[in-house]
Amino acid sequence: MKVKEIGLSMFALVCLLAAIPAFGHHGSAEYETEQVVTVEGVVKQFEWTNPHTWLYVTVANDKGEIAEWAGEAGAPGMLARRGWTSHSFKPGDKVKMSGRPAKNGSKQMLISKVQTDGGVLQ
């Protein structure tokens, strides 16, 4: 079997790895790549579930208008190795949630870190 090695293989590895990101279930094509958004609010709900965890945060702006942001994070198994637990957030907790916003303009982000009174999870 003739195998195209060396030069191609390095590029091919990058291609395959680039196309198989850590956020494996569905990639992150629906999120912006260069932007980071941060919101502050209180936790409405935390879903410690596969394939991904979800953190819902109620955010009030300067005018008192209320909005709900949904933050998508990794799978519980991987997050647990970085210190997350099913009890990391409970309704009413104050949090600052940062991540890459959805391309479609909805109030949704791919979480990069969450700051709480107890520290930072990322």
Partner: protein, 245 residues
């Protein structure tokens, strides 16, 4: 009647002995399987994590997708046939089977950043993937691929030991999965050859992909896995809360 019954009993005993012998033969491990020339440090059994973030640029935050900022155009470096390249360029990433909690392609499964437990038993090597709770059975009993192969998501894998390197040949894939997340489809003529070789705390891995209906020639990727002896494989029930169905 009694003599006739005795004859049948004798016949059955002989057949049972033959069947037992055949079964015992088919589960015989190769010599290399039992004795690793490199000693315990060459044993691929363990829990392994792809070294993906380091190999593609040192991104620490694995929640962020490091890919989008540097994704090369796969069509320029992967030897796609024209039709496959057209499918690749037209694909919607959310059409990936994994998005719908169906099994990913073999390369996707092996390279995605989730740990893999490698187990060995006589005549078998078993890969237990945390990602999607997938399990790969690799038969090392020398029986080879079945003649009448049913096509399946992860295909039929047979392995042999080349010294301390496990060489795995897989055929019999269906054509439903993608080899990556962006639309790298394949046909049911996909054929892969993988090599697993341990060097201390590193598992060296290569994957050669051949599919005459998708690629103009075979091509190979290489990567390393890092030993994670203290890790456990976590549960991953994809259907639990999949919002991308």
């Amino acid at each position: 009647m009694k003599p006739r019954f005795g004859c049948c009993t004798c016949f059955l005993m002989v057949m049972l002995a033959l069947a037992t012998s055949i079964l015992a033969q088919s589960s015989q491990p190769s010599k290399a399987h039992e004795t690793l020339s490199g000693g315990p440090d060459s044993d691929i059994v363990g829990i392994w994590m792809p070294t993906l973030p380091r190999r593609v640029g040192g991104v620490n935050d694995t929640l962020l997708d490091p890919a989008d900022k540097r994704t090369p155009d796969s069509a320029k470096v992967v030897p796609f046939l024209p039709e496959a390249e057209a499918r690749y360029k037209a694909a919607n990433p959310l059409d990936n089977t994994a998005t719908h909690c169906l099994p990913p392609g073999i390369s996707f499964l092996m390279l995605v950043a989730y740990p893999i437990a490698i187990l060995r038993a006589p005549g078998r090597v078993v890969l237990v993937h945390e990602y999607m709770n997938q399990v790969r059975w690799i038969y090392t009993d020398g029986a080879g691929h079945p003649k009448d192969l049913e096509h399946t998501w992860l295909g039929d894998s047979v392995g042999k030991w080349d010294g301390d390197t496990l060489v795995v040949d897989t055929i019999g894939f269906n054509d439903k999965s993608w080899l990556d997340l962006h639309g790298m489809t394949h046909s049911d003529e996909l054929h892969t050859v993988e090599r697993f070789h341990r060097r201390g705390a590193v598992l060296e891995y290569s994957l050669t992909i051949e599919d005459p209906k998708t690629f103009s020639q075979p091509w190979t990727v290489h990567m390393d896995y890092e030993a994670k002896p203290d890790w456990k494989i976590a549960e991953f029930v994809c259907e639990e809360n999949n919002k991308y169905k």
